[in-house]
Homo-oligomer: 396 residues x 2
């Protein structure tokens, strides 16, 4: 049977005669940059809506539109030339996404799914409804209500989060008293209270799902945070009970399906001391916890995200190495990261450097390094040394 007559249609305005689709990426950060990198070998066309011409992705993409995604006219004009729209971040307002869909342009992930990554209150309510284990939680109205929430459980400390707008530790507070609980309410945004989980460690179960309903699950990883920001990811999570790993993967797949996620979904988890998993956060885009896949998996999260938003068959998510470690490179005291390459590359010819083209500012994510191999101690040491040297906290 000649299959060539059947053209793979991504579900949008896909004129015959135009072969490779145009993927429209909203947001010019490093996730967009790395998605473009993954799209190059697929021959697809990549159009970028970037805040500035110097954004991470704008530096390496040919077709760049500089504009404000919050302006609906700008967004609609940008989308007009695209076969599908996807995102580098989760800040595009729901109404804007609905307008694009009304224009007939596939938006992936769609607004009905994305709202669960944009609004923690909506996310918690949905996860409760589908029976997904979460930390004890509820929306709280004021500091006194926070105290009541604390009293309903084991008391302070309590975690408070604004339901919208948080990332990389921002918009999250750990409060020890009614007095400290005043701060989050100043934003004027609803506040979600959560029990402070005494977790053994944090994990991430990441999956990619396509409009066809096909989904793949990456190995569950361990994610180590420093000051609320991802620092080190180990793939797979060392010593993770096989049954718990499978439970985490199935949980992530179920969440993706129930929420109608298209593309990459990162499910950040707590592993409790008594061996249970609780869902912490969701992200519907390629995610920091999946950067290791660029060098450690058969198909990277970025390549699979591109396939998913185009409704192409997904690539094999399995690991290529026994252990892969990613360490974030944050800005330190040295504005010049390039001068560190000599040392890092000479020391480790297998090191995989991924820099984002961003100006160095203290604590800012400006890149990451991946290492892989059979000896976890060695793989960890190599990644940590390289990240530290690039940052400038290690100098020899």
């Amino acid at each position: 049977m000649d299959m060539r007559g059947v053209r793979a249609v991504p579900g949008g305005r896909y004129p015959r005669g135009v072969t490779f689709p145009v993927v429209g990426m909203v947001g010019g950060g490093q996730l967009a940059r790395m998605t473009h990198e993954a799209g190059i070998p697929l021959g697809i066309r990549f159009k970028l809506l970037s805040d500035t011409p110097q954004d991470s992705a704008a530096q390496v993409v040919n077709d760049v539109v500089v504009g404000d995604y919050r302006d609906l006219d700008t967004l609609r004009e940008f989308a007009r030339g695209c076969d599908v729209i996807t995102f580098d971040h989760e800040h595009v307002p729901t109404e804007h996404l609905r307008a694009l869909e009304a224009d007939g342009i596939p938006v992936r992930p769609g607004p009905d799914a994305l709202v669960h990554a944009q609004d923690k209150g909506v996310m918690r309510a949905k996860l409760d409804a589908i029976g997904v284990p979460c930390p004890r939680h509820r929306i709280v109205s004021d500091p006194e209500d926070v105290a009541a929430f604390a009293a309903e459980g084991d008391g302070f400390p309590v975690v408070l989060k604004t339901v919208r707008g948080g990332y990389d530790g921002k918009g999250v507070w750990v409060v020890d008293s009614v007095e400290e609980a005043a701060e989050p309410f100043k934003a004027g945004v609803p506040v979600l209270a959560e029990e402070k989980v005494d977790y053994a460690r944090e994990l991430a179960a990441n999956v990619v799902r396509s409009p066809h309903g096909q989904a793949v699950a990456y190995p569950v990883v361990e994610s180590q945070q420093v000051d609320g920001v991802c620092d080190t990811v180990i793939a797979p999570a060392p010593g993770l009970d096989e049954a718990l790993a499978l439970q985490a993967e199935e949980l992530a797949l179920r969440i993706a399906k129930e929420l109608g996620v298209i593309g990459h979904l990162a499910v950040e988890l707590f592993e409790t001391r008594d061996g249970r998993i609780l869902v912490n956060e969701l992200a519907m885009r390629p995610h920091n916890s999946g950067h290791w896949t660029q060098d450690g998996a058969i198909t990277s999260q970025f390549a699979n995200h591109v396939r998913a938003v185009l409704d192409l068959p997904l690539g094999d998510p399995r690991p290529r190495a026994k252990w892969t470690v990613m360490c974030n490179v944050l800005g330190g005291d040295y504005p010049d990261m390039y001068s560190a390459y000599l040392h890092c590359m000479a020391r480790d010819p297998q090191l995989k450097i991924h820099m984002y083209g961003k100006d160095v500012k203290p604590g800012r994510k400006v890149g990451h390094v991946n290492t892989y191999g059979d000896d976890l101690d060695d793989v960890l040491e190599r990644a940590r040394h390289a990240a530290g040297y690039l940052r400038g906290t290690i100098t020899e």
Copy 2:
């Protein structure tokens, strides 16, 4: 000792305060496209001189200058913004390269090395001088001289090549008589005659060399040609005698050093039926015989070429898989390659597709696929099926 004070200087005009260097790529073909892809994670800045805005690399690079590299003013103006110049092809005239060097811009590989890839007569003379085994050869003046050359050996057939301008089988003739020998001389370019080697197979020994003199050698591969164009590459070459493989690698390293090559050098070889190797051709750029490295080696030829031209330490060239196969995708009867993705990706979730964004024309190189694994028969079958299906010679 604090190494950060020592800035990695690529040897050119590298102003303090500007951290990531600008690599200027002359030529917008797929080699430039894939070099840009490899440069993205290094955070380096990439500037492209392209014949047209639609060239393969121009589609995916941000900083594109459209212009004719043969015009010296255009070339010099382009190079002015770059820290180093390198190439997607070997057609830039020697005098132009010398002019750039006189302007103080590092040209890598430099004109003294490149001439050996541009002029087959110069190449043969040099290889003879350094004692590198070659097919019997000499410059011939006319068809009668070709007959004399034939008579000096085993007679016709004889291989004739114009010393400049040939690639992908063009500019090469296999002639069986004095009459047939007339054709190559019509170009008005000197003609090189070579014995027609009765080879067992063709190999490629590829290396990368940096200005520091550091060099790495990739595993020797088997290269299968169809109609003078590369069709399939198998890495490593199956059943290759270990001593012969080592000899080939050392030969390539020696050629790179003796010719002063910076960047990637492809040494195309004949393996004779009696187990010797002879040098066929040289290419001083990333090469078709090295595309497998994108998925099958720790560091791809493109990534190492970038490092070399920037005088950075080279990456590990060793394989990541037992067998890696590359098959070229040539244009066939179907103008729409994208519609083949559905079948190819669904059939083989481990398939690595690399398309160039080029319009399909019959016989034109429009992409390649890589496969890897432990079972060579399986790896070969998967690559051949995918390449054939994309081309349209296989339809189910």
